[in-house]
Symmetry: C2
Subunit: 191 residues, 2 copies
């Protein structure tokens, strides 16, 4: 079915809320909109970093990191691994959290990891459907004038600055506390 238009939303503050939200004029459905999480990785091999040349808009033809929107049901590191596979068919191993960038004007939070190839003896990569080309670049060979997004510059600089330094690991779905506190689903709607 083609997208034929937007539902008829009103801008209202729902009961018990303090902010304006989009509310359907017909049924009262509250369309909560929150920032989205982008997950990505600086994947390196022998000091060279993996970049993907975009085959799609925006910034088609420019180089970027394997990165994209986190999906429901994924941890941040699962999402970063999926994106590396989708965009570069690379099987990566997350090493730690390199940076957290807020790009508030467009409602994004980017969680960027440092990663290696899962099998560093046989690093393998090839363009996925959204990439025209995938390559490993030595630092001095990075195509700085053909980088797709500012945050790619920031992440590469953060990677360079963190070389030789241990990074914190992300924590994903840790087990229940031995004290036997509330089940994880108590988190729903909470905090």
């Amino acid at each position: 079915m083609p997208f034929s238009g937007m539902p008829d939303f009103l801008i209202q503050v729902p009961e018990g809320d303090s902010r304006e939200r989009r509310v359907c004029a017909t049924c009262g459905y509250v369309d909560y909109q929150n920032p989205k999480v982008v997950v990505g990785s600086v994947v390196s091999q022998d000091g060279r970093v993996l970049l993907c040349r975009r085959a799609i808009e925006p910034r088609r033809g420019f180089w970027t990191l394997p990165a994209g929107y986190l999906e429901l049901g994924e941890t941040v590191e699962e999402g970063a691994r999926r994106e590396a596979f989708e965009e570069a068919e690379a099987d990566i191993a997350i090493d730690g959290i390199l940076a957290v960038y807020s790009i508030s004007r467009i409602g994004q939070v980017q969680v960027i990891f440092r990663a290696l190839f899962a099998d560093p003896e046989h690093p393998s990569f090839t363009p996925g459907p959204e990439s025209a080309e995938v390559a490993l670049f030595a630092w001095e060979d990075i195509p700085w004038h053909q980088i797709a997004f500012p945050s790619v510059h920031w992440a590469l600089a953060a990677w360079r600055a963190a070389q030789g330094r241990a990074l914190a690991a992300p924590a994903g779905n840790p087990p229940l506390d031995p004290r036997g506190v509330a089940p994880l689903r108590a988190e729903v709607g909470g905090l």
Copy 2:
């Protein structure tokens, strides 16, 4: 207007997508759902940590950190400061990123900061509308059996483990790269 029901959504894979999404049967609107970001802080003063006793469900009466959903237009650290003010009327200064927790089964990514009071000489706090009580606890006095959510345990343990250690700062809307690359709004839909 009361919430009188859900729009009539079909589950379909939109053109150019690879996942099933909710699509309005009437107008074709694609209701993308992604994980939400929770931001919160372990705020401390002289080794004691700030906890809030919940005045609302879920887990009413249990203790939690000041934390909540990131809103559009906020950086992660702005969101964490807002939540500390809303829940404890505390003006805090973010010190660094303590942890990133994925709770994928409920579609949450939690970014938890270490923080101090903005004016440590005169720390001030009082319950906001969602808190019944707010207090500073020495480690051995924390009400471990009355903690609201598992991630509060994890964050407190991470805070304890990170004592005396420098943490990475979050980066929020860094300025454009001096090389003059694409404007930030090129990030929209990208990566």
